[in-house]
């Protein structure tokens, strides 16, 4: 056809306008990181701080990938903080009081999270009760149950094996010298793998003429990601290596990005959020998909609960208060739409890191918690205003 050429080369300006949100968010993260690196006098990227950055934000990232799917499906889950606290307390009870082996505890805790998510999802999906209400109730219920099973006290400390889930590092099978060889191998290997996958996908797209992204963008973006990964693994390898939770996080992000972009389940979630009626008339079993999305969220909240209690080395009645707001904010900063149908896993993760870097940077600067809240609120508002104005223009 005559217009194959326009298809192949893409129209650069139009492409930028269509994808401004995705690049904008990545760009914002870079600017924010650069800003804090400068104003903290280089503390931000010190190996110990970078390691802490990952450790302290892992639970937000873990929950953000699940929340992204919920929000894309057109729902919300306000209960994740309470569920995380509840499962954290449950896990503490099983480890400390019952002395169960750690793998058993992890499996049972995740199962408990899935059951909780499933119960909430059941009312939302099959009874059409608004998710806001069901999960608001869940938020209250599981906060209360957390206090009840903890009897107002903390449970801890944990055996070392349990603590390692959150604060341990991967072992170096090549000996104890620096840099940490296995971390470096994993990090660089992952960077190379991602680059290779991207180039392969690009080749295939070009072969059939659907490469939409201008080549310069493709090259710049992937070079940046590649270098960032290589550099981060280098820095971390020169400290104590990759944290265990970093591996968990990386695997989850890759897995959920794959689910959302490449599977039929992901397609169905986007379709339901984009136009529920059209999805239903296309034969999509919306009820089951929504149910599964909430069940999945419950499981991820449970995982976050384990990570948080392991990191704090105790389960407390106040754990996870306000997590839901951080997670939801991360997803919206990452470009998801309240109306559903729009958003990416990578965006949500970047959103989580924007919040994380700001928390970390402002704490280093000694900015009070009061200002921190205000600034985070303003960033969230700015991101959404950007979305809305961008949408009304196109």
């Amino acid at each position: 056809m005559s217009d194959t050429t326009t298809e192949r080369s893409g129209d650069t300006f139009g492409f930028i306008r269509r994808n401004i949100r995705e690049y904008g968010i990545l760009f914002a993260l870079i600017i924010i990181m650069a800003f804090f690196q400068v104003v903290t006098g280089g503390i931000l990227f010190r190996p110990v701080n970078l390691t802490n950055l990952f450790l302290q934000n892992s639970h937000i990232v873990i929950m953000a990938v699940g929340m992204l799917l919920i929000i894309v499906a057109g729902h919300i889950d306000l209960s994740v903080g309470s569920v995380a606290a509840f499962v954290g307390a449950l896990a503490a009870l099983m480890v400390v009081r019952l002395g169960l082996p750690i793998p058993v505890v992890v499996v049972l805790s995740l199962a408990a999270g899935a059951v909780i998510g499933g119960i909430q999802g059941y009312w939302i999906a099959y009874w059409k009760i608004p998710s806001f209400i069901v999960t608001l109730a869940g938020m209250l219920i599981f906060r209360g149950l957390t206090m009840w099973i903890l009897q107002g006290q903390n449970i801890g400390p944990f055996p070392r094996g349990f603590q390692m889930i959150a604060s341990g590092f991967i072992p170096d099978i090549f000996g104890p010298d620096k840099p940490h060889t296995l971390s470096l191998l994993l990090g660089w290997g992952a960077a190379a793998l991602i680059l290779w996958l991207q180039i392969r996908a690009r080749r295939r797209e070009e072969a059939v003429g659907i490469a939409d992204e201008p080549f310069a963008f493709f090259a710049a973006k992937n070079t940046l990601i590649f270098l960032a990964l290589v550099w981060i693994s280098w820095v971390l390898a020169n400290f104590r290596g990759l944290p265990n939770v970093f591996i968990v996080m990386a695997v989850l992000v890759a897995l959920y990005a794959f689910i959302s972009e490449r599977t039929t389940l992901g397609r169905r979630i986007y379709a339901i959020g984009g136009n529920a009626k059209a999805a239903k008339l296309s034969g999509i079993n919306s009820e089951r998909v929504v149910f599964l999305t909430f069940m999945n969220m419950g499981m991820l909240a449970a995982l976050a609960g384990i990570v948080v209690s392991a990191r704090l080395n105790s389960a407390t009645p106040k754990a996870g208060v306000g997590f839901e707001l951080d997670v939801i904010a991360a997803v919206f900063i990452g470009g998801a739409s309240m109306a559903g149908g729009v958003g990416t896993v990578i965006g949500a993760v970047v959103g989580a890191f924007i919040m994380g870097v700001m928390n970390n940077g402002m704490s280093i600067l000694g900015i009070g918690i009061d200002y921190q809240q205000v600034i985070k609120g303003l960033v969230l508002m700015a991101a959404v205003i950007f979305d809305v104005s961008n949408k009304s223009k196109t």
């Binding site: 490449r262 397609r267 986007y270 379709a271 239903k280 008339l281 296309s282």
Partner: protein, 524 residues
């Protein structure tokens, strides 16, 4: 002649469509004028121009009211002048009382505090005028359609009204309530009020109207003072020439593919009033079957109910495919059985508008582009590009978001989605609504080719020339029933209209009492 209203040379254009083309209409003071025409003839658009829904400046032409030119910018402007319109869809808040509804937005209040006693007193007076014996405190939601319609009129009377416009006021009323409403209009006329009545029911027009204006394709085609022959009105309404607007075809009709028996659907929102009543028909291989009828006849309800019970509340009926009974109780089951339903409302029921063409096309058949639940993107891209070329979806690429496509191209994407699901039977609901003539021809060609390939197709359309141009056989539906059937070769627009209007009169002749209707409702 004392004219209350004169509309001169009104032309209203929407992107790509001329909805009104130089319409002229003069209304005498104190008359009841009927405004008739097919669906889409421009009646509602004309009334929206008159009432200021389409602001002055968005159309061409002049409105003279009491001899003075008017420039309404909103409904509020026209209401100030005494022009009040009552829409087909009632705009009452069911949770609020009659009095609250009547004075909604116009509350009797002092310093923002509502004067409840005065409100109720004035409401009682208005209710007496329209002959409704209900307490002003009664919640509107507890009342039937007929009474709600009267409340709308009382609401209109609460304002200063000189010209009352009613858009199909009786379409959802039973015979008893319709009569009451028409008598009320006559009484208002004695008191000097002028009214415009938009209606499809020629029998009620002949009862109360003084004159008739016929609109067709956005233009006034006829004006009759006093009563005229029904068939003359029908000829005016439908009489347009049929050119080569339809691709030629040689039907090859095979054996029966689908049999629908006694399909009955109720309206869950309205106390089980029946939307579809015992519809039975069959469909053959390679056949294009049309379903004609006025808006609200129950055609969409019938189609969507068969397609996985997607609309209304299924009461009874069965479907057999190739002589064997088949389960169509869910949408996935219907798709598996080989059915596809292409909606009349592509924006809210057909497309995920924010998504691209590529992502919309496989939605009804995701397994077709995936292996073990993982999408094969090359296959997906290939499928999308193939359809784009085959049915000529005009867009820079398949990566275009469907929200940015024209109506005709959106329709093609929805069609592509269902073609990719590989159905044996396609139900197309208003497949050419709101799309331009060129795209229409392309859609007709696709329909023809599908039939030639052995698919069976049902076309629901409110455009009768279209049904006459592309179908082999036409079913006629009215008020939830299939009231007639004719081979397209023997059909004319006049004959179809006659069947519809006669069926409406048959119902009238039965003289259904309110008691009978209530008994029916209680029974179901």
């Amino acid at each position: 002649m004392d004219a209350i209203l004169e509309m001169r040379g009104i032309t209203k254009e929407f992107p790509g469509v001329k909805a009104l083309d130089n319409v002229n209409m003069t209304i005498r003071r104190g008359e009841i004028r009927a405004l008739v025409g097919e669906n889409g003839a421009g009646k509602s658009t004309l009334m929206k121009v008159l009432s200021g829904v389409y602001a002055h400046g968005s159309y061409q032409g002049d409105i003279l009211y009491n001899g003075k030119p008017m420039a309404f910018r909103s409904i509020r402007d026209s209401e100030e002048q005494g022009i009040v319109i009552i829409h087909q869809e009632l705009a009452l808040v069911p949770q609020m009382s009659i009095a609250e509804n009547i004075f909604l937005g116009n509350e009797i209040a002092r310093h923002g505090v509502i004067d409840r006693r005065e409100t109720n007193r004035r409401t009682a007076g208005l209710l007496a005028q329209v002959g409704l014996r209900e307490s002003p405190e009664t919640k509107v939601g507890t009342l039937g359609m007929g009474k709600q319609q009267l409340i709308e009129i009382a609401k209109a009377l609460s304002k200063k009204v000189d010209l009352l416009i009613l858009d199909e006021p009786t379409s959802s009323l039973n015979e008893h309530d319709s009569d009451a409403l028409l008598r009320l209009l006559e009484r208002f006329r004695e008191q000097g009020m002028t009214a415009i009545l938009i209606s499809h029911k020629l029998n009620e027009i002949s009862q109360v109207c003084d004159s008739i204006t016929v609109l067709r394709d956005g233009a006034t085609v006829a004006h009759h003072d006093g009563m005229v022959d029904e068939s003359a009105i029908i000829r005016d309404m439908v009489g347009r020439s049929m050119n080569d607007r339809y691709p030629p075809r040689q039907p090859q009709i095979g054996k029966v593919v689908m049999q629908v028996r006694d399909w009955t659907v109720a309206d869950p929102a309205r106390d089980g009033r029946l939307l579809v009543k015992e519809a039975s028909f069959e469909l053959r291989r390679g056949e294009v079957l049309g379903i004609a009828g006025l808006m609200g006849a129950g055609r969409t309800e019938l189609a969507m109910s068969i397609f996985g019970r997607s609309m209304g509340e299924f009461r009874s009926g069965s479907v057999a495919l190739h002589g064997k009974p088949v389960d169509l109780s869910t949408v996935p089951a219907a798709i598996r059985a080989g059915l596809a339903y292409v909606t009349e409302d592509r924006k809210s029921l057909g497309l995920v508008l924010e998504d691209t063409i590529r992502r919309n096309i496989p939605l009804a058949n995701l397994p077709g582009i995936s292996r073990q639940g993982v999408v094969d993107r090359q296959r997906e891209g290939a499928v999308a590009r193939d359809f784009r070329q085959r049915i000529n979806i005009r867009s820079p690429s398949v990566e275009q978001r469907t929200v940015n496509l024209s109506g005709g191209n959106q329709q093609k994407v929805v069609l592509a989605k269902w073609l990719f699901a590989g159905p044996e039977i396609l139900i197309l609901d208003e497949p050419t609504r709101g799309i331009d003539v060129g795209a229409k021809y392309e859609i007709y060609t696709i329909i023809r080719d599908l039939a030639a390939a052995g698919k069976s197709i049902i076309v629901i359309s409110s455009e009768m020339p279209e049904l006459l141009g592309i179908t082999d056989r036409i079913l006629i539906m009215n008020e939830g029933r299939l009231v007639g059937e004719m081979p397209t070769a023997e059909a004319t627009q006049e004959r179809i209209m006659q069947v519809i209007i006669r069926s409406g009169q048959d119902l009238t002749d039965e003289n259904v009492t309110p008691e009978q209707i209530e008994a029916e409702a209680a029974h179901v």
